[in-house]
Amino acid sequence: MDKLIFIDYHKCVGCATCEMVCSMVHEDICSPALSRIRVVRYPTEAFNVPITCAFCESPPCVSVCPSGAITKNADSGDVAINPALCIGCRQCVQACPFGHANFSLDRGTAFKCDLCGGSPQCVEFCWTEALQYVPLDRALGGKRDAAARNILKSG
């Protein structure tokens, strides 16, 4: 994957605008339960963890899916669910180590992040910059910069 949704947990304030926008874009509905990205809040820590698909190299959801509905595209790195094949057994929901794979009770099929076809709207609407859709090296570069600045400050 040339780009990924890079999450800076320390910047997230837990406003969950991303959840709302995601469910709106994909389902025409405002429902956190139908959002691909989910924010886990730890109110007593003031810490918020947005969770979205990691597009794993060897995704457990792909392995566990008994119907072959989830596939990883070797070229683009995309992990996608084919609703025609999905039998709705929710094994992917159980297998995903991040709790990302989600399930629509209405449609009876699983769903997951599709990066909005290349322009993720959660990132578009995230105002804190906790979510960024950037190439991996840039995300890491930003992290390195921040670490370096910290060292500089304390040094």
């Binding site: 392995s63 566990v64 119907s67 084919n82 609703p83 025609a84 094949l85 094994q91 297998a95």
Partner: protein
Amino acid sequence: MRILIIGNGAAGNQAAASIRKYSPECEILMFAREYYSEYSACALPDALAGWIPINKTYLKTLADYEQQKIKTCFGQEVENIDINNQCLEAGDKKYGYDCLIIATGSRPIIPPINGSLLKGNFVLKTPRDIELIMEHKPGRVVVVGAGNIGVETAGALRNRGCDVKIVEMQDWVMPLLYDLKSANRIRSLLEKENIGVFTGERVIEVQGEQRVERLRTDQQDLECDTVIWAAGVKPNVELARQAGLKIGSLGGIEVDKYMRCTHPGVFACGDCVQSLNVITGKPSLSLLWSSAKRQADLAAANCMGQSYEYEGNCSVVIEEIMGIPCIAIGLNLQGLNGYEVEVIEQESQDLYYRLLAVNDRIAGYQCIGSLDGASSIFTMIKKGTSLSEARRVLLNQGLISTMAWYIDSRRYF
């Protein structure tokens, strides 16, 4: 929206039921030559054997069609489809459609040889056939063809106390499903049940005065009063051909992966189409109940505006002979002709299994003696799991704990 369905078999009825899931309201008309309501072809051997009453093979009553709001035009042959004007003709009436689903099914092959029309020749395709066979009071039966229908029919009539023989043209029983070694196990099971099995013999003619008296093969004469033809089936494609739809190389209607025929608004599914095999990706005829229903689901979904792709067919056939379960999934060596096949097999007193893999991918499975783990293997074959992926999961505690359905297949890897 008006949807016409030709055919009242598994595919036709499943398509209708599936359309109802998408739209409770749209108009569905179903045409069928026969005047039956839907029956289960797979339950016919059980009925023939007397394990279940014949009326139990019917899956629906006419009232059920009404309840699903399906208008039935049964007993009415569709004479012509005018695909350009989106309508069909049946019984001097024209019916326009928005979508047409062809599910005309297949019919048993009776070779054009001498005596094949004599009284005492039967097929097993409809519940009526059972009645005809039973009215004939069979005593000594020869079943032509040792496919799964042939074997089941033989077992069923044996259960009725008949003296039963099976004649198979190819060298072993169920040649499309099993390899020689596993087929031999089945053969010995059949023989234990006192069914005579003659393989590598070609039927030449049926002899008799008024009725069947003898069946002649290229090797011997078999005395009998009944011949049951189970030598394969053939897709019913005449209507489609006449309408100008393309018929594929194997004799089935050609459809794309969305179950669309070569003309817009026309879908086809079930025994009458040729579809791609999930393993080889090559066209094949999958004359199975489950394939028909799956294809019908997709045809229905796609005619209701989805674009769902068919993953391809994969055969799975289960038999129980002398109480021993036998199962064949995917392709056998013959089906994988031209590929380099890796065989994993194990043999013991009560159990024989073989697993076939092509390019690391699990492609076929045959087992005599147990059904354990078969469902995992079936899942893997359909899914295209490789041997190495299965091993990777099975060797990783973290993975296997959330993917418990792999556990049953451990013994094969």
